[in-house]
Every structure is written in structure tokens, then in C-alpha cells.
């Protein structure tokens, strides 16, 4: 059984560059704190939009952070689970997917028609170099197990590849559902029915 990393990230990219400015995300996240729109103990909003291809605007929470992220030159919603990860990798991935998906759908509601995510693919980051060195052999060793977990999450066949070859970077994967499109609401509804064991 594969060990759960210290931190686990899931990012959904936008389908296209939105009209909304990054600065306008700050008040949205501030309001999410007031209204407790997304899961977690929400703490603060930090603005890094001045940093090229950076984490953009982050809604900091105790358990995990939600970022309107510009990493890899792609705008998206990046959820990084930091604490209280479940003991099973399958549960941890399910949790991170569910929370990222939930936040992304909330963001779509803030700017209907402008902010639109591509839920058929995602980047998954294992932010734990001690347990997850970014090399091909680790990918090869984990590929079957991770493919099975992610196929189960998507409910269809998936394709999996390493996001970065550079061994200095975190072990990260790109997953793509082998289907025409993925409806985020349906996916969330399905994932929400699954129980997740928290450590």
C-alpha cells in the first residue's frame, strides 16, 4: 500500500483565459471566508498575483489552501491539502479531488460563462520529496495503483503521465479522463457519496 504524502495538490485548469482579473478574485475569496463557502477552517487571503506563473491569489485554510493559480503558465484552481490527510492514498486523492472540484464549481458560479474549468484533466502534486522523489522508476512503480484510483474517481479510463521530468521538482502527474467531457457537478455528486477516512 502506498504511503500518503505530507501534502497533496489537485489543480483543474480553466478552459480559456477569463475576462475576470486576478485582483477581482481577492474580494471573492474574502467573501468565501465570511460565508464559509468552501470546506475548511478558512484563515486569510494572500495576494501573489505580482509573481509570474505563481500561486496567484490564495485562500489560506488550516487543512488545505485554495489558490487561483497561475503555475505552469495555466490559470486554474489549485487545492493543496496540508493536514489531516486520510491514511489511504485512495482516500487522500478522493478528498483532494472533491475539495478542488467543489471550490472550482463555486468559482464558476462567481463568473458564469467566464470562469469555466476543464474537469476532464487535472494535475496531481505529491509535495513530499522524502517519500516521493520525482523519477521515472517511482512513476513506473506507482502507475498501476494510481491509474486504478484515478479511474475510479473519474468513473472511466484515464491516461496518466508525469508532469515534470526534472528530478528537482515535486512528483506530479497529469491525469486525463478518456471521455469527451466531464461534468463537474456530476463528478462532485458522485465523489461526495464516497466515505473518506480521515487520520
Amino acid at each position: 500500500m502506498t504511503i500518503v504524502p505530507n501534502r497533496l495538490g489537485v489543480k483543474f485548469n480553466l478552459k480559456r483565459e477569463p475576462a475576470i482579473a486576478a485582483a477581482d478574485i481577492v474580494p471573492i475569496f474574502q467573501r468565501w471566508i465570511q460565508e464559509h463557502t468552501v470546506d475548511g477552517m478558512l484563515i486569510d487571503v494572500i495576494d501573489y498575483k505580482h509573481v509570474p506563473e505563481g500561486p496567484g491569489v490564495i485562500l489560506i485554510a488550516d487543512e488545505g489552501d485554495y489558490a487561483y493559480d497561475f503555475g505552469d503558465g495555466q490559470v486554474g484552481l489549485h487545492y493543496i491539502r496540508k493536514r489531516n490527510l486520510p491514511g489511504l492514498l485512495s482516500d487522500a486523492l478522493l478528498m483532494a479531488f472533491r475539495l478542488a472540484l467543489g471550490a472550482a464549481l463555486c468559482l464558476e458560479d462567481e463568473a458564469p460563462g467566464d470562469i469555466e474549468f476543464d474537469f476532464s484533466s487535472a494535475k496531481i502534486s505529491f509535495l513530499d520529496r522524502r517519500r516521493y522523489r520525482n523519477d521515472l522508476s517511482l512513476f513506473t512503480a506507482l502507475q498501476d495503483e494510481l491509474s486504478a484510483i484515478l479511474a475510479d474517481i473519474y468513473g472511466c479510463e484515464i491516461a496518466l503521465e508525469r508532469a515534470y521530468d526534472d528530478p528537482r521538482l515535486s512528483f506530479a502527474l497529469r491525469v486525463a479522463a478518456q471521455t469527451d467531457s466531464v461534468d463537474g457537478h456530476k463528478l462532485l455528486a458522485r465523489l461526495s457519496e464516497r466515505p473518506v477516512g480521515v487520520q
Partner: protein
């Protein structure tokens, strides 16, 4: 799977490893309620693990103040500082010098323990934000494995030692101060004589008098390179400044010594430290910096004290040993120097070349400055930059006090290529050192003391200025802007042409964020003079104020008149009149946007301000040292649980010696680290005199130490280990009791 401690065991220097192990043990002791929160706070700060805004569990969300219910409940890591609240980790980068490998490790840590961002401070440190305290021991181990420490990055100790980024490549320097800064950092790090300060202590080196780089005149201890002919020989040395500082009460440093030779440098720094520890204020933290001691005594009396103290400084080979290796402190460029030839220049190169490139004293080489917005860069940029550095400059990376990254030893012929590569990773902004290159402290973003959003204002000004940088006259482009979130001056607003520091004013029933405008500070001549506060303006008016000031400066300045002179000639009254239209406070109903800060949509409040940790905790030297003994005892307990009985013996013995040392040091600071000396001093000062005697047990507990010291076990079994653990506990309790009887209250 191995822990980081196991994985890196061979790469971490033993002394650094011990300090981190001790801190990890203190974390456990604090969680179990066995270590006082103030003592832990000071230990934590001395490891660079700082609190952040909202760590008291309160945050105003724009409508109401909400409780932040962290899972650890009431457990605190210091007064009003909840355990699970994210914190800031400050990492010392002496004189800003980094290797490519170190940059990569820092980037890994930002990726895994923080929010993915590395922040450069005005003291050439790196700060990571939103770090959990439980992650800090491993974070520190990973740093120690590449020769980086967080030891004494905060707290009442010697902070990061800064120096010019151009040291070693500068045309104007007397000599390269880098190896001296490095030697002083290593000498003073965790030194006994810097453990009992009432406040922090900042040291800077500068290679020349005229330029700003080192800023020695605004430091607690400033060292300005000089040479002097002595007995027909040119000797290297320093003009020594003492007692400078910014903060709420800025003060220019005074000359302690016109010329101290390089041999005298470290003993003199040690003597200054001892005088500060002995005579400096300990209770009133607002008057505890060395500048207050220098003012109180006068520089002549302070100098006499230092000279007297020098006579008592024990001989130490380290005072001069580093001088033998000065020649080894060379720089290895990645490539041979070569002039810029006729290579086609990329778009934007000329603007960048004009402001970001400095031609080194060494022919064919340049130093380039990466204008890093708000001092922030991503972990990904860190990795990419390390790769670029390896190819073009090797390990010649530095961080600047203006929150930029500097690459030295770039072959001139490579400038177009490196510019192209920096552009690819978003680090090729022109305008380094100009008006767009604004310095800012963290302010209300993360600092507990922040009153207004220094970073929000900086981002706004930066955006507006970049849009019209090419339209600005040279006289305006060359101005420096620095912004602090409060009066404490971490953004160094006193030494900018135009400085701002955050404050607030009331309008009706609402508070409004403001910035005090500070004009005419001098960055040159090592922060030669400080600016004058001329009035507080609503934060949302600051861009207009800046435009009004610069427009009038351009329109009215005499030819070649610099900003400082123009401000002085214009006079405070006239400037105030100029600001007056912007100082009027609109009502909340008329202009609600004025009641939110830059970059923050919440209605402004100052309810979130907490108690700052810059001052550290006022904890006695004994409390800090006995805490180390208790940590060693805890390590012994862990070893007992593991059945590692030789380790039990080692740690328990160490705990007793450290406890004895803690008591000895209340009377004899120079006892040193040798176990034999410590035991002898303890015996003669406290046992033979019966000062350590318990009312009923008499000298029994002290004899536990003597027994272990005089008769080390040949075999260590479980029974022995258990007994030694118990005896150690009793010995430590005995030391606590004795200290209270002898010296009074422990935690002041």
C-alpha cells in the same frame, strides 16, 4: 522509510544537528506542558520560527471578528500564539550569499512546507510564510544539510549579518568584506556572549563609505572597510560604528573606533556583545536596543566599557584563525570573462541593461540584478534560476537588502543570452534600483504589528509606475521608495527619498488606513541621514501624493539638485501645505473605498493587530539554558523508550552538565563548553559553598552529577538507565530550586 533526520545524518554538522534535536525535543516538551510558553517562545524565535498575523485565533473578516478554532485548541507556542496557527520561518543567508544547491533546497522547502513563495527580506534573509511549527525541525535539517541555519534568525540575538551585494566585484570598495562577514557570522552564531541580550542585534559590513550598500550607519554594529599604514605596512581594518538603528526612534550610529585591525575585529565584536549583555536594558523592550545604551552612557563611556571588557575576553583561536583562509574565499566564475560582442540584442535588453547591469571591477564580467517584485519569487523560479546560475555564474548568487536577487560574475558576452533566459522565467524586469523597485515589509499581509498594507500599496505604486516608467524624467526614475506597514521601519522608510509607513485615522465611526509620508532620507553614504515625517495621508491618496511630489520636484528643482536638498530647501511647512488637500478625510458614505486598504476588499480595521514578536521574549539567560538541559533529559527519555541505553547515558549526563552550566553561567559567563571545567566550576562555586544544597537532601542531588562525571559506566543496562534518568530529573529540579534561592525570579 527513513526520516529526514536519518537521511541527512551524515550531511548535517554535529553542532547544528544538536541544536535542531534540542528544538524538536522542546516542541514535544511544550506540547506536554512541560516547558514554559515564554521560554519556548524565545527558543522558537531564536530558531527563526516567528508568529504571523491572526495567530491569536482572531480575525476580522470585514464584517465581524471571527474566532479561528485551530484543532490544537488552547495549546500555545508563546503568549497568545496558538500552536496550529501558521507561522513564518526566517532563514539566515549571511551577506545574502547563496549557492545554486542552496537555492534549490530553499525552493523545495517553499514547495513542501510553505505557500510556494520565497520572500527576500531587507536583511538578505529568506522568509517562508504559512509554515506549521511541527514541520520546522525537518525544514531546519534540510537547510543544515546545505550549510544554512535558522539559528538566531529572530529573537534577542545576533540577526543575519548583512553586507554589500557588490562586495568583491565593486570598483569603489577598499577590500572585499564578504569573508569578514562570514567569519563574524560563524564566530557569533550561538556564542555564549550573545545569549543574554535584551533585544536583537544587527550587524552590517560595507566596503566603501560613499555608496549605500552596507548601510552601516543604521546598524547596531557597523563595520566600514578601511586600510591604514602601520609600521610601513598597509593593514586592513574597519571603522567601527555602534548604536545606529531605525525603528520608532531612528538613530545614526556613532564611531566606536576609527580603525580596528582585522585581528581586532572579532574580539571587539565580542566585547561589544558582552557590554550590551551586561549593561543593556532587559525589562523595557522599547529601550533595550544598544542605541539606547550608547545614548545613556554616551559614546565615550561606552567606548571605555568596551575597552575594559576587551581585557576580560578570553583568548580564542577563532579570533584570527579565519585570517589564514581569507585567500580561499575566492569566487569561481562559471565562464571566462568576455566582452559583449556584436550579438543581436533581444527586445527589452537595452532598458534592462541600463538599469540592471553593473560592470564589475574584473574586466569582462558584470553583476546583474533581478528586479524581484515585492521580494517574492516562486519555488519553480528558484529551481529554474539555480539552473541558469549553474550555467552562467556558478554559485555566485546573492540577495540584496533591496529585496532583489543578484547574479555576479556574468561574462559580458553572455548578457543577451542570460537576459533571454531570465525573461523566460519572469525575472527580467528592468528598473532595478529605480523608482519602480520599491522595498516593502510584509505589513498587514502577514505581520502581527502591521497597521496598513505596505505590500498592497507597493504593488499598486509599482503597477502605476511601470506603466509610465519611460515617460518619467531621470531625476524621478532615480528616486527610491520604501514602505513599512507600521512605524517599526522594517521597510526602511527612513532611508528612502520617499518613504511611507502605515498608521490609521478615524473618520466618523470608522477607521481609515493611512500612510505617514517621510521625505528626504538618504540611501547613499551608508544611510547617511534619515527622512522627515511630513504628514499622514489616506492610503488611497498615496498614488496622487507621489505624483504631486515628483511633478513639483521636476518642475522646481535647480539643476543637479537632488531630492534630499530639494525637500530641505522647500521646508516642512510648504510640503505640509502641498499635502493638505490629500489629508482631508472623506466620510464612509461618500467614499467607502477609502475605508478598505490596498489589495484588501474588507472594511478596514485595526482590531487584528497583535503583539509583535520582533522584540522576542524577555527571558533570563538561566531559563534559556536550563531549557536546553530539559531537552536533553527528554531525549534521554525517548532513548529509554527505544531501549537505547548508551544513548540514555549520553543524554542524561549531557542534561546534568547543561543544568550545572546554566547555574554556573549566572555567576561566571566564560565557563565554556568543556564538561570537566563546568563540573569543577559547579563544584567549587555551588557545592563546596553549599549554595546548591537542598534543605533536607543536602548535597545528594549534586553528587549525582559528580558520580556520573567521575565514574562513567563501563556497561549500561536498563536498570542503570532508569536510575540515571531519575537522578537527572532530581538534579535538574535541584538546580531550579538553587537558582531561585540564589538569584530570585527565573522568568522576568
Amino acid at each position: 522509510m527513513n526520516t529526514w533526520k536519518e537521511q541527512l545524518a551524515d550531511q548535517i554538522p554535529a553542532d547544528m544537528g544538536n541544536l535542531i534535536d534540542t528544538f524538536e525535543a522542546q516542541i514535544e516538551l511544550r506540547k506536554q506542558g512541560k516547558l514554559d510558553e515564554k521560554v519556548f517562545a524565545e527558543q522558537r524565535l531564536r530558531k527563526g520560527a516567528y508568529g504571523q498575523r491572526y495567530d491569536n485565533g482572531q480575525r476580522h473578516d470585514g464584517v465581524r471578528t471571527r474566532e479561528l478554532s485551530y484543532p490544537s485548541g488552547e495549546l500555545v507556542k508563546g503568549p497568545d500564539t496558538l500552536w496550529d496557527a501558521p507561522g513564518m520561518q526566517r532563514i539566515k543567508i549571511p551577506y545574502g550569499g547563496l549557492t545554486a544547491e542552496q537555492l534549490e533546497v530553499l525552493s523545495e522547502l517553499a514547495d513542501e512546507y510553505a505557500d510556494g513563495i520565497l520572500h527576500i527580506t531587507t536583511r538578505q534573509d529568506i522568509q517562508l510564510h504559512y509554515v506549521h511549527i511541527d514541520d520546522t525541525p525537518d525544514l531546519m535539517r534540510r537547510l543544515a544539510a546545505v550549510d544554512i541555519t535558522t539559528q538566531e534568525a529572530c529573537g534577542n540575538s545576533v540577526r543575519n549579518i548583512t553586507a554589500c551585494t557588490l562586495a568583491g566585484v565593486c570598483h569603489d570598495e577598499v577590500f572585499d568584506v564578504s569573508p569578514y562577514a562570514d567569519a563574524m557570522m560563524r564566530f557569533l552564531l550561538d556564542h555564549d556572549d550573545v545569549q543574554d541580550f535584551g533585544r536583537k542585534f544587527k550587524v552590517a559590513f560595507s566596503g566603501c563609505a560613499g555608496h549605500a550598500c552596507g548601510l552601516v550607519k543604521m546598524h547596531d554594529l557597523g563595520l566600514l572597510a578601511q586600510t591604514r599604514e602601520i609600521d610601513g605596512e598597509i593593514k586592513r581594518g574597519f571603522t567601527v560604528f555602534v548604536g545606529g538603528g531605525l525603528g520608532t526612534v531612528p538613530q545614526q550610529a556613532k564611531v566606536l573606533a576609527d580603525f580596528a585591525t582585522e585581528e581586532q575585529l572579532l574580539p571587539l565584536a565580542q566585547a561589544v556583545s558582552r557590554v550590551f549583555a551586561r549593561l543593556g536594558e532587559k525589562k523595557n523592550r522599547n529601550r533595550a536596543r544598544i542605541k539606547f545604551l550608547v545614548s545613556k552612557l554616551g559614546i565615550d563611556e561606552f567606548r571605555r566599557e568596551v575597552q575594559e571588557e576587551l581585557k576580560t575576553v578570553p583568548q580564542d583561536d577563532r579570533h584570527t584563525a579565519y585570517l589564514d583562509t581569507l585567500g580561499d574565499f575566492g569566487y569561481k566564475p562559471a565562464k571566462a570573462g568576455m566582452a559583449l560582442n556584436g550579438t543581436p540584442l533581444p527586445d527589452g535588453f537595452s532598458d534592462w541593461y541600463r538599469t540592471n547591469v553593473y560592470h564589475q571591477a574584473q574586466s569582462g564580467y558584470s553583476t546583474i540584478t533581478l528586479n524581484t517584485p515585492l521580494g517574492d519569487f516562486t519555488a519553480m523560479q528558484g529551481f529554474q534560476l539555480a539552473e541558469i546560475a549553474r550555467r552562467y555564474v556558478g554559485d555566485n548568487i546573492r540577495l540584496s537588502v533591496e529585496q532583489n536577487i543578484v547574479l555576479r560574475w556574468v561574462a559580458d558576452a553572455d548578457l543577451p543570452a542570460i537576459y533571454r533566459e531570465l525573461r523566460e522565467i519572469g525575472l527580467s524586469d528592468a528598473g532595478a534600483g529605480t523608482i519602480v523597485d520599491i522595498t516593502a515589509c510584509p505589513g498587514t499581509d502577514t505581520c502581527k504589528l502591521g497597521i496598513a498594507s505596505s505590500r498592497g500599496l507597493t504593488a499598486e505604486l509599482r503597477t502605476r509606475l511601470i506603466e509610465r516608467i519611460n515617460l518619467l524624467p531621470d531625476a524621478v526614475r532615480e528616486l527610491k521608495i520604501k514602505v513599512s506597514g507600521c512605524f517599526n521601519s522594517c521597510g526602511q522608510h527612513h532611508v528612502a527619498d520617499i518613504g511611507f509607513f502605515g498608521n490609521s485615522r478615524r473618520s466618523g465611526n470608522h477607521k481609515m488606513p493611512h500612510f505617514q509620508v517621510v521625505l528626504g532620507g538618504q540611501w547613499q553614504e551608508n544611510a547617511g541621514s534619515y527622512g522627515l515625517a511630513v504628514g499622514a495621508v489616506p492610503a488611497k491618496h498615496i498614488p496622487e501624493v507621489l505624483e504631486a511630489l515628483t511633478n513639483r520636484y521636476v518642475a522646481e528643482r535647480a539643476e543637479e539638485e537632488v531630492f534630499q536638498t530639494w525637500v530641505k530647501n522647500l521646508g516642512r511647512k510648504e510640503i505640509k501645505a502641498m499635502l493638505q488637500p490629500y489629508m482631508k478625510l472623506p466620510s464612509f458614505d461618500d467614499k467607502p473605498e477609502f475605508f478598505s486598504d490596498w489589495g484588501d476588499s474588507r472594511v478596514y480595521t485595526i482590531d487584528d493587530i497583535g503583539v509583535g514578536e520582533c522584540a522576542g521574549e524577555v527571558v533570563s539567560l538561566f531559563s534559556l539554558e536550563i531549557a536546553r538541559a530539559e531537552s536533553a533529559h527528554f531525549e534521554a527519555l525517548l532513548a529509554l523508550d527505544d531501549g537505547n541505553y548508551p544513548m540514555v547515558d549520553q543524554q542524561a549526563y549531557k542534561a546534568m552538565v547543561l543544568a550545572a552550566r546554566a547555574l554556573v553561567r549566572t555567576k561566571y559567563l566564560d565557563v565554556g563548553d568543556d564538561y570537566g571545567n563546568i563540573v569543577n566550576e559547579f563544584r567549587s562555586r555551588f557545592y563546596d559553598t553549599e549554595l546548591v544544597y537542598d534543605r533536607f537532601a543536602k548535597g545528594k542531588f549534586a553528587r549525582y552529577l559528580f558520580k556520573r562525571h567521575d565514574q562513567p559506566p563501563t556497561q549500561v543496562g536498563e536498570d542503570y538507565a532508569h536510575q540515571l534518568i531519575d537522578e537527572t530529573q532530581l538534579f535538574i529540579e535541584n538546580i531550579h530550586s538553587a537558582e531561585q534561592r540564589i538569584n530570585g525570579v527565573i522568568v522576568s
